[in-house]
């Protein structure tokens, strides 16, 4: 989530057969494609999505002073009572922690103090990683809804859920407001609100990001459902011929070995797709086997 003032503007364009609304949020471009000929309707629907994602960003960005995440992270060991929506997200994160055996952990953000994935050879010492790791671990958090208490030095971060949650929330609000089919796309994590009527499906490209561009982009026909991608080929460290991916395993504080560079999953909701792709990357070399066992459609780029 970007640490900058938001540009609260939206722009509209006719894409031929459908309209596109665009705005910036969560550190990147966002768009809402609407199966309609009405510019006004597109503006209304884009506004619904933008307002919701801006609200979520304000509320859960770890860069915003005074929001619930900031209050939790500055609690210095005291208990914080949270609102219902935050409690839902914390409950969800707890379930993810359990089903991933600790691989998904919203307290792992402090590891970023040690790791800077800037393409350099700046790999931290194992002492430094071990030291920071003492402040990581959901099992050290006392969570008794709606009260959360963390040890001094620990932090939480909804960055691993936030964007997918925002896509699904925006899609749900558009769905409640209209029958028009919309594709809500926040930087590649996307969902279709309902099946399109004048055409059969939305067409979505899945980029191949590996340096070996011999794998062309897959073109996907998405009628309903969602897609999310985890991994990023541009964020890594390279030292002594070892490529350290930016996906850190909170159980040891080190990048996941032999992880795919990116994993895209198709699922009913963007949240499910995003969590499955994240959990797959945590499986490292067994990412594909993990996804096969989940019986989901996926695209792994190694």
């Amino acid at each position: 989530m970007a640490n900058r003032d938001f540009d609260r503007g939206i722009s509209l364009s006719n894409a031929g057969g459908y309209w596109r609304g665009q705005f910036a949020a969560m550190g990147g471009p966002c768009e809402v494609l609407c199966e309609t000929h009405s510019e006004a309707e597109t503006e209304r629907l884009t506004r619904i999505a933008a307002d919701e994602v801006w609200r979520i960003e304000e509320k859960f960005s770890r860069y915003r002073r005074g929001n619930i995440v900031d209050r939790i992270n500055r609690a210095s060991g005291s208990a914080i009572e949270v609102d219902a929506e935050t409690a839902q997200l914390i409950d969800f994160a707890k379930t993810l922690y359990e089903i991933s055996d600790g691989g998904f952990d919203i307290t792992s953000g402090v590891l970023r103090k040690a790791w800077h994935f800037d393409g350099s050879d700046n790999v931290p010492s194992s002492e430094r990683v071990a030291h920071i790791l003492k402040s990581v671990g959901w099992d050290q958090v006392t969570w008794s809804r709606p009260v959360l208490r963390m040890r001094v030095g620990m932090q939480i971060d909804f960055g691993g859920i936030g964007k997918e949650y925002a896509v699904d929330r925006a899609a749900a609000m558009i769905r409640e407001s209209t029958d028009v089919s919309c594709l809500v796309n926040f930087g590649g994590d996307l969902a279709v609100t309902s099946a399109p009527k004048t055409f059969n499906h939305w067409v979505v490209g899945i980029e191949a990001i590996a340096a070996s561009a011999s794998i062309p982009a897959n073109i996907l026909d998405l009628r309903v459902g969602a897609l999310a991608t985890s991994g990023d080929a541009r964020r890594f460290l390279l030292k002594d011929g070892i490529r350290y991916s930016h996906i850190l395993d909170p159980r040891n504080g080190w990048p996941v070995a032999e992880a795919p560079r990116s994993v895209t999953v198709a699922a009913d909701t963007c949240t499910q797709a995003g969590m499955l792709s994240t959990l797959a990357i945590l499986e490292g070399s067994a990412a594909e086997a993990f996804l096969d066992a989940q019986s989901v459609q996926y695209w792994c780029d190694r």
Binding site: T95, A195, G225
Partner: protein, 437 residues
């Protein structure tokens, strides 16, 4: 995480997402990759020892998947055949001369050598097309066509298949038919059965061409027994009628005492066979019944594939085939697959090493080694891996050995001194490459 836990993650996650997002969840995902072409290419070398048949074959199979699981498959195969094939005559302790199939020249086989016809050379082009599509939720429909052309043979066929799922897709019943019309235009014409090999230039016992019709039906059931085990049982019936002879195969006519082929004196200035050979003659129909059963067992990435086929026909050939494959993953992206195939067949009722001079001719006769009693074994290994670009590559190396059996009580006189059914050894090398769009 145990394997079981990993499988239930998607379900737990779905429930957790439902409580996070509340009501108003969307419909289940419907995503499908855009139509893409996938290509399966293979280069195969088959080589028999003793300079017998060599085949270099290139095949390309392309399939394109359209929305709603409709699949178009197109195939092309180009074969280049060279080498020599046994002509059916017996080896003798003296040289033998034969007229070439073209009727234009002769060739001579040394003493104690199996007579083979080395004019065998052909290029074959085969094309296939198939369209598959679901009909409703439970039916799958296939329709296809095939055609091939080589110097002396043309094939054209059509086929169709329908399958229906039952029992929550654990059981599938299938039924299929295929019909084909093949035309044979042998080099020099199709000889009439049981007529003698004639001199060079004499094509009086040849016809230009002939045809055969083939009709096949198959019915089968496949059954998912457990998450790891899938089984298949098929019955098929095949009926061929028309010209079923091999126009290049002969039967030696031998002396009833010595067992040696009967000589024909050649007049000065004439060129032709040194001995008496008759063209083979097979019945003009053949009905085959076969039963095929297969089991595929998956064990954590390893796959054991066992199949057995029993075939019986009205030529009295019975055969048994057992095929075993075991795919063994090596790491994440390669595998090794040993393969063993065992085959055994009884001889056709009219199979005979030779005919005795002076005896009444049988209605049908063939000395083609492929209609005799023999056992065969194929043993080999395939290694497959994923290339850097994510495509599949494989290499397969196999050895084939066929050994025939001629009962000693059918041998006459000096025939015991010859190897009347020499073993056949062949090597098979195949390189496969599979890639998409």
């Amino acid at each position: 995480m145990s394997d079981k836990d990993k499988r239930t993650i998607a379900a737990t996650l779905a429930a957790a997402t439902c409580s996070l997002l509340g009501s108003g969840l969307p419909d289940p995902v419907q995503a499908q990759e855009d139509p893409t072409w996938n290509f399966n290419t293979a280069l195969l070398y088959y080589g028999e020892d003793d300079d017998r048949v060599q085949d270099l074959s290139l095949s390309i199979l392309a399939n394109r998947t359209y929305v709603d699981d409709r699949v178009l498959t197109l195939g092309v195969t180009l074969d280049g055949l060279t080498g020599a094939s046994p002509n059916g005559a017996l080896p003798q302790s003296f040289p033998q001369t034969f007229t070439q199939p073209s009727g234009k020249k002769t060739y001579t086989i040394d003493a104690d050598r199996l007579p083979i016809d080395d004019t065998f050379k052909d290029t074959r082009l085969a094309l296939t097309a198939n369209w598959q599509q679901p009909l409703g939720r439970l039916y799958q429909f296939n329709i296809g066509a095939s055609a091939s052309r080589e110097y002396d043979y043309t094939h054209f066929g059509i086929n169709s298949k329908i399958a229906r799922d039952f029992n929550r897709r654990n059981t599938t019943l299938l039924a299929g038919i295929a019909i084909a019309r093949d035309s044979i235009e042998p080099v020099g014409g199709a000889p009439d059965g049981l007529t003698a090999m004639a001199n060079v230039g004499d094509l009086s016992n040849r016809r230009n061409s002939d045809t055969k019709d083939i009709f096949d039906v198959v019915i089968g059931v496949s059954q998912v027994i457990s998450r790891n085990l899938i089984t298949q049982l098929n019955y098929s019936y095949s009926d061929a009628s028309g010209y079923l002879n091999d126009p290049y195969k002969l039967v030696s006519v031998v002396d009833g005492v010595t067992g040696e082929v009967v000589p024909i004196p050649q007049l000065p200035g004439s060129e032709g066979p040194s001995h008496l050979y008759l063209y083979e003659h097979r019945p003009d129909s053949r009905a085959k019944h076969s039963l095929y059963t297969q089991a595929k067992y998956h064990m954590a990435g390893r796959v054991l594939d066992i199949s057995y086929r029993y075939m019986t026909d009205d030529w009295e050939i019975d055969s048994h085939t057992v095929d075993l494959r075991y795919r063994w993953p090596l790491g994440g992206s390669s595998y090794i697959e040993p393969h063993l195939r065992l085959y055994s067949q009884t001889a056709a009722e009219f199979y005979s090493l030779s005919l005795v001079d002076g005896e009444t001719l049988p209605e049908y006769v063939s000395a083609d080694y492929r209609l005799g009693e023999f056992d065969a074994m194929t043993a080999g290994v395939k290694y497959g891996w994923q290339t850097g670009g994510g495509n599949d590559m494989s290499i397969r190396l196999e050895f084939y050995r066929q050994s025939g059996d001629v009962a000693s009580d059918v041998l006459i006189g000096n025939q015991v001194n010859q190897d009347n059914y020499p073993d056949l050894n062949a090597i098979i090398v195949q390189v496969g490459y599979q890639f998409g769009r």
